[in-house]
């Protein structure tokens, strides 16, 4: 053997949590043993999480994928002993091939930290176009694309930017919300680890659009690898002149700083995040004033989710029309659905809005991982509804979900099989609210504690009917009397979890 062998092994948390680093060591050892020159490239993740560590060997035909690679399997990569694990060409794996990869187009494809790779695959083309446009033109493009915030509230991004653009202030900020606290969600992390320059590019475009010169990424502390990767990407981008003073001789300045969260879910709420960025307790602020007008340090501020910002480059590059041609109704473009929990083929599926929950869970996800019947699906994080078999034909669309009393949120989809105890899930929703409440509103702070106690009584079989109706009343109070969605939406998982219990006990 003499020809250089090129092998991709993801540098991404999921792959690493399943032994990708051991695989890298084993490859290096085996290469030395058989005198084979090997180049190992640490790419991002393709998002086919159930196959991680997904290792690829470059061949004449393209990149050959091998799933669930372990260090013990590595010798087989060299002597053909792994053929049974070969999944064929990565790009032709249907799970991936059938997606609409716009935001995540480079994830898995490129070396996460290579600026060359980034630019070879379309990176900075959106920004280059933006540099030739006026602020108003950029905002108009984003508005026309129909992009709505991917952090959960689905507010039109262009409208928010326009407010910040119109605000008169010498100092404006771009704050990227990378707090990703929802269980079942990992798309922000996957993007930041796999294609960090894409987020950076999106933030620079946002800065050009509203006239900001400083940006922050508020990153949750549970993501230490993201911090490393983003920090390195920021240094690289700065050195190449994409960040800092006089970006690419445009006369514009913009730089980005990473700030770490500290284990608080409510700090994902945008005003709590701003408080936290200012070094205070993460207490939710009353609105108005809107953060767009009085945000960080009292200045006009764009607060956007990682995915909202990371979608900006492709919109600027390919145009608003191209983007809005995906999707349906008022849900334009694509979004990242994350298949999690008890599901056979877990991972990230970027698809145009409108695909049904059933297609995601059954066609992409191939049902439960345990093989037992599916019982419930929680969509949209801990404040999202539990849905059941009869709901699976719902299209993934903001309005369709709202009409069904559910939310798309950040696109997390957690599947449960029939061993789930739905009353325990209802209790957890209250417990979680009690744990994470910022404490400002009584219905949220105290109501959640009382709610958990009431569910515990039901679990103990006490006065079921009475306790049920008290939970319903309590939920009304929480919904009406909470400042933010933490208290205001906790009733959604609680009541949807108990709806099922109601049905069972009524039989």
């Amino acid at each position: 053997m003499s020809d250089l062998m090129t092998i991709y092994v993801p540098l991404e948390s999921t792959a690493r949590s399943l032994g990708a680093d051991d695989v890298v060591l084993a490859i290096a050892e085996q290469a030395a043993r058989c005198g084979q020159d090997v180049e190992i490239i640490r790419n991002g993740s393709w998002g086919m999480s159930w196959l991680e560590p997904l290792v690829e060997v470059v061949t004449d035909r393209g990149r050959m994928a091998y799933g669930n690679m372990t260090a013990d399997d590595v010798p087989g990569l060299f002597d053909g002993g792994c053929e049974a694990m070969c999944l064929g060409l990565t790009a032709e794996i249907p799970y991936l091939g059938n997606q609409d990869r716009l935001t995540f187009g480079r994830c898995g494809l490129t070396d996460s930290l290579s600026l060359d790779d980034y630019q070879t695959h379309g990176g900075f083309r959106g920004l280059e176009k933006a540099l030739g446009m006026t602020a108003g033109q950029i905002v108009a493009q984003v508005t026309a694309s129909g992009l709505r915030g991917r952090g959960g509230a689905a507010f039109p991004t262009g409208v928010k930017w326009n407010t910040v653009l119109s605000a008169d202030s010498a100092r404006k900020y771009i704050c990227c919300n990378a707090d990703e606290g929802d269980s079942g969600s990992f798309a922000d992390r996957l993007l930041m680890e796999s294609d960090p320059f894409c987020l950076i590019e999106g933030m620079i475009i946002a800065a050009l659009a509203v006239g900001a010169d400083k940006g922050f990424i508020y990153l949750r502390s549970e993501y230490p690898l993201c911090k490393e990767i983003l920090s390195e990407a920021l240094i690289t981008a700065r050195a190449a002149g994409w960040l800092g003073e006089n970006i690419k001789a445009s006369g514009r300045d913009f730089d980005i700083e990473i700030r770490m969260g500290a284990g608080s879910y409510v700090c994902g709420e945008e005003t709590a995040m701003l408080e936290s960025l200012e070094g205070r307790r993460g207490m939710v602020r009353a609105k108005p004033p809107l953060p767009a007008l009085e945000g960080l340090f009292g200045q006009p501020t764009v607060v956007n989710n990682v995915l909202s910002l990371a979608t900006i480059p492709v919109i600027l590059d390919r145009g608003a029309e191209f983007y809005r041609n995906y999707g349906q109704g008022n849900s334009r473009g694509t979004t990242a659905f994350q298949l999690a929990g008890n599901i056979a083929r877990s991972g990230l599926v970027e698809k145009a809005f409108g695909i049904s929950l059933r297609e995601l869970v059954t066609d992409y996800g191939a049902g439960t991982a345990t093989g037992r019947p599916l019982k419930a699906v929680q969509v949209g994080g801990p404040l999202g509804a539990y849905l059941y078999e009869g709901d699976l034909d719902l299209p993934m669309d903001y309005e369709a979900f709202a009409d069904a009393g559910a939310v798309l949120g950040h696109g997390g989809i957690v599947v449960f099989d029939d061993s789930v105890d739905m009353v325990a899930q209802a209790k957890f929703a209250f417990d979680f609210c009690a744990l994470e409440s910022c404490g400002k509103c009584t219905p949220c702070r105290i109501g959640s504690v009382r709610g958990a106690e009431l569910v515990a009584k039901i679990q103990a079989g006490e006065d079921m009917a009475d306790n049920f109706s008290m939970i319903r009343e309590l939920c009304d109070v929480m919904e009406a009397g909470s400042l933010c969605a933490m208290g205001g939406m906790t009733p959604i998982p609680v009541l949807s979890a108990l709806k099922d219990f109601d049905r069972e006990s009524g039989q």
Binding site: S13, T14, R16, S17, L18, S49, W50, E52, E180, G181, D182, S183, G184, S185, F186, D188, R189, R220, S221, E222, Y223, P224, E257, R259, M260, G261, A262, G263, S264, Y265, S276, L277, E278, G279, R280, R281, G282, F297, Q338, L339, A340, G341, N342, S346, G347, L348, A369, Q378, P382, G412, V414, V415, F416, D417, V420, Q425, F428, F432, L435, E436
Partner: protein
């Protein structure tokens, strides 16, 4: 942040001041300072609160308020080894309640406790963002996915626990 706290350092005011100073130059840098102190000492020592108050021009009560709001900041050292077991929905769907019971049994600790000899801390965590391969844990700051009871035992053994 999950962290291996094996290197707990004795209180050292000079060191604390050195750690705080660069953060105090950042606008809104109090959280950064708390992270930095925890990194340096393994927890946020009581004594540092007065220094933080001084550096950030806050009352001591405000500093305590911030420190206590956030789960990450600890007022006492953790064990030499720290194990966090995710308790959130995706991991629940893959048996985290059973895994937690198993961990508690094996270690003789409840969530939130540190062994008397200071060797091990067991903690709850709410979502590690690795939900496609639940259930998840961290052991000494390292993330592990698809953790069955057997894998849990193997990981403990490898860490000498």
């Amino acid at each position: 942040m999950p962290k291996n706290t094996r290197n707990i350092v004795d209180w050292d005011e000079g060191e604390a001041r050195r750690v705080i100073a660069p953060c105090a130059r950042l606008r809104g840098g109090l959280l950064e300072a708390l992270h930095a102190l925890q990194h340096a000492f393994g927890y946020v020592p009581e004594e540092s609160c007065a220094l933080l108050a001084e550096a950030f021009n806050l009352s001591r009560a405000e500093v305590y308020g911030v420190r206590s709001f956030y789960e990450d900041f600890r007022s006492a050292p953790s064990g030499d080894h720290v194990i966090e077991v995710c308790q959130a929905e995706s991991c629940q769907a893959r048996g985290s309640r059973k895994l937690t019971a198993h961990a508690q049994n094996i270690l003789g600790l409840r969530l939130g406790e540190t062994s008397v000899d200071g060797h091990v801390t067991l903690r709850a965590v709410y979502c590690l963002g690795n939900c496609a391969v639940s259930p998840n844990i961290t052991l000494d700051g390292k993330l592990y996915g698809r953790v069955s009871a057997e894998r849990f035992d193997r990981l403990l053994k490898k860490a000498g626990l």
